[in-house]
Symmetry: C2
Subunit: 115 residues, 2 copies
């Protein structure tokens, strides 16, 4: 079905499967970070809730991403739907600073200086 990138095996960006490139291969798919982010912010959520929160994701895409994130160990099923695993929460925390960064970036984009 979906092919999930495994560190140590050829991935996008590294024929030898450099971990960072394997991770980028996984996260660099449409919606991957958005799903993890949303799931982390709202806590355990059902498939449909997640779908609504992501506003425009299609069920097929959501399902594919969820499977990949589960295979990677960042998400798992719990009572009440899906939730981030410890590892997933850790990843979310590392991604978290991007929230602030993105706001500054938004300012740049809507004016046009260069810092």
């Amino acid at each position: 079905m979906t092919k999930i990138p495994i560190p140590g095996q050829p991935v996008r960006g590294s024929r030898r499967g450099a971990p960072i490139m394997a991770l980028f291969d996984l996260l660099g798919r449409h919606w991957a970070m958005g799903v993890l982010w949303t799931l982390s912010e709202i806590g355990p959520a059902t498939f449909r809730t997640l779908q609504e929160r992501c506003e425009t994701i299609s069920p097929g895409a959501l399902n594919t991403r969820l499977k990949e994130l589960q295979a990677a160990g960042f998400v798992h099923k719990v009572e009440g739907g899906y939730a981030a695993t410890a590892s997933g929460r850790r990843l979310y925390e590392l991604l978290h600073p991007l929230g602030e960064f993105s706001k500054e970036w938004a300012l740049h984009m809507n004016s046009n200086d260069n810092t």
Copy 2:
């Protein structure tokens, strides 16, 4: 040509263009983070060098990504090719911890415990 996500305008994950979702829309495209990462690690590089370092990227993809990253203000042209802007370096720094994380993750993936 390529449509780059603008915060404040509909993007994947947010009809109202939440900055973080706009950023994810941009970075969540095949190769986007890999290119920024590679460029940041090797410093200013020519198109062809970048292409080699990315190992398996096609020139079309590289060119598209470079244009997007430039439009977003993360990359610009310099003597000697392309380089990360101040903003791009900042983003790279935020992404940097993922390097370590990915190594731990690689261990998880190749054994199978759960931390």
